[in-house]
Amino acid sequence: MDNPLITEPLFHIGPVPIAEPVLVNWALMAVLGLGSALLTRRLSRTPSTAQTVAELFVSTIDGQISDTMNRDPAPYRGLIGSIFLFVLVANWSSLIPGIEPPTAHLETDAALALIVFVATVLYGIKNKGLRGYLATFAEPSWVMIPLNIVEQITRTFSLIVRLFGNVMSGVFVIGIVLSLAGLFLPIPLMALDLLTGAVQAYIFAVLATVFIGSAVGEGHAAPSMQKDPSHG
């Protein structure tokens, strides 16, 4: 059994080692980018089925963001939606035989969590100014400053480990079962893996939204967004 904690490079481009998650990531990028471009190439006011699905997806994400942050979701829609879509597709890419999901490797999760962390800091500074953002670390009193800093790091770390642990354990369990039994036995586990993957993508996106929302502070209610409580 392979060591799930080690990412072996497949080949090298010059000095740069290219591992399997990077390759899979490129493929996913190509698929998502081309699909999006094809989907949104002919948008019309009377939508096709695909366009309806895309609009439903986007407006659902908008609703979730505005529900969580009480803000206009437009500045965060791209980041949150992309993270959710990428994590979801990456988790579900384990359905393709021979493909290991990129999120089952620590580096991909770390990259995503790093992006969320940086985005949290940037959005906080953008909304409150540098001084205002730094002042949030001294809340509710200056005694909490070390704890707040530690919280920033640990929650990013827990973001990494949660996604990694869930996806990797799923892959791991399926690998074990596959090596033991063979044909039909892994199917329920794979279904569970799909559910876990979707839930983890949702949780990752929601946590990213919560982190960014807490960084930008209490927002005013976005007037244009309707509440959509049927998703969750």
């Binding site: 060591n3 799930p4 904690l5 080690i6 979730q64 529900d67 969580t68 827990s158 480990v161 949660r162 990694f164 642990g165 869930n166 990797m168 354990s169 839930v199 983890q200 949702y202 949780i203 929601v206 946590l207 919560v210 959509d228 409580p229 049927s230 998703h231 969750g232």
Partner: protein
């Protein structure tokens, strides 16, 4: 038993995952029970409740995941082997 360290590592990994799962299991059970009660009492708040529940479950689950990661570290990245 020259590979005592491996034996201990495997046992400790199993113990870590097993005991590490007890706490989150109980906590998740309580959280889900409370959420169910809340939804039964206030069905119109089911959307907000379930979203909060999912986030909370993910938080709780993180503990079990930590245990799993520790187990994996013990198994595959054991510095004493």
């Amino acid at each position: 038993m020259d590979n005592l360290v491996e034996v201990v590592s495997i046992i400790s990994a199993a113990l870590a995952v097993g005991f590490g799962a007890i706490g989150p299991a109980l906590a998740e059970g309580r959280a889900v029970a409370a959420a169910m009660e809340a939804i039964a009492r206030q069905p119109e708040a089911a959307g907000t409740l379930s979203r909060t529940l999912f986030v909370g479950l993910a938080m709780i689950e993180t503990t079990a995941i930590y245990a799993l990661v520790v187990a994996l570290l013990v198994l595959f990245a054991n510095p004493f082997v």
